[in-house]
Amino acid sequence: TDTFNYAAYHTLDEIYKFMDTLVAEHPDLVSKINIGKTFEGRDIFVLKFSTGVTDRPAIWIDTGIHSREWVTQASGVWFAKKITQDYGQDSTFTKILDTMDIFLEIVTNPDGFAFTHSKNRMWRKTRSTTPGSLCVGVDPNRNWDAGFGMAGASSNPCSDTYHGKSANSEVEVKSIVDFVTKHGKIKAFISIHSYSQLLLYPYGYKTEPAPDQAELDELSKAAVTALASLYGTKFKYGSIIKTIYQASGSTIDWTYSQGIKYSFTFELRDTGRYGFLLPASQIIPTAQETWLALLTIMEHTLNHPY
């Protein structure tokens, strides 16, 4: 993985091969878990970074649930390598990984990602079919069991924000739900999107403040400050509904409802010129600055057990 080009976009096969290589290089630190199969039958993989023998409290990070947000999968690859590099070198990070496990799902929507490489670069959703409709796919960030089907998602299968026929109808979502539920000790859950330069916390489907709003707000402030310290990139932060828009059935509203207090979603770097087509030269700076925010959240999670 030292020769892998982190400053380029890669296909699903290349990313999956990278994951295998990383596991082979660090068998005592990294393992690959298959948490399910996509609608089209692709494997859904999560990397587990662990220095223990039994399941510890854990941090979850996912990238690429919206397939066209390529800088997120590319950042996920960079994070994976960074974890293996910094463990044992960076004292803060080493302390985190000596106490907690980290799960990293780099390609959260493999069918959609493959579709962006083969047929339609602008594809966002899953690739599941809806009986009675010619339109394909469900927005996997509207398919979670938290305010499912309420305002802030579409009931139209042709819409990019179609919520699906029922909560967890998408196997890509259900696989994570089952994994998180079975694990039971996920303490921070961070879902990464692009672009807009935002760090968001619950709720998305209702205006009522989350019970932990004050702490989440303080932590967000610290995280975006750390992020900005590298290249000056400014992020806004706040609850989903107040900062961007009402969004029902979203990932972190479900994780928060499961008791995962540190539930956040990122919208990564926006240069104002490229949107989802962020040039590959931006991948490493984007990942680097995001890592600083992630570290802040991970360290806070370590120091504030619950």
Binding site: S118, R121, M122, G275, L277, A280
Partner: protein, 99 residues
């Protein structure tokens, strides 16, 4: 492969709530086949929308008629996709001797 030749991405600036509502009207016009990369939310927040070539005139006329300002964020989506593809191929070629 889906062809995005001539598609533009417009960055729309909604100065006040009435502008936001007007852009929401656009969002509902399915025949325009607009792809909102960043939807209308609140005044002051940028709205980004990919507009197919055949809908460009209608969308721009609509925005100008309602005095809603916009700029072209991406002139031709397909050109960027072609560049992206070339970069990926070049990166693969560079990586081969090392692997």
């Amino acid at each position: 492969k889906e062809d995005f030749v001539g598609h533009q991405v417009l960055r729309i600036s909604a100065a006040h709530e009435a502008h936001v509502q007007k852009v929401k009207e656009l969002e509902d016009l399915e025949h325009l086949q607009l792809d909102f990369w960043r939807g209308p939310t609140q005044p002051g927040s940028p709205i980004d929308v990919r507009v197919p070539f055949l809908s460009l005139q209608a969308v721009k006329v609509f925005l100008e008629a309602h005095d809603i300002s916009y700029e072209t964020m991406i002139e031709d989506v397909q050109l960027l996709l072609d560049e992206e593809q070339e970069q990926m191929v070049a990166a693969q070629t560079r990586a081969l001797p090392l692997s």
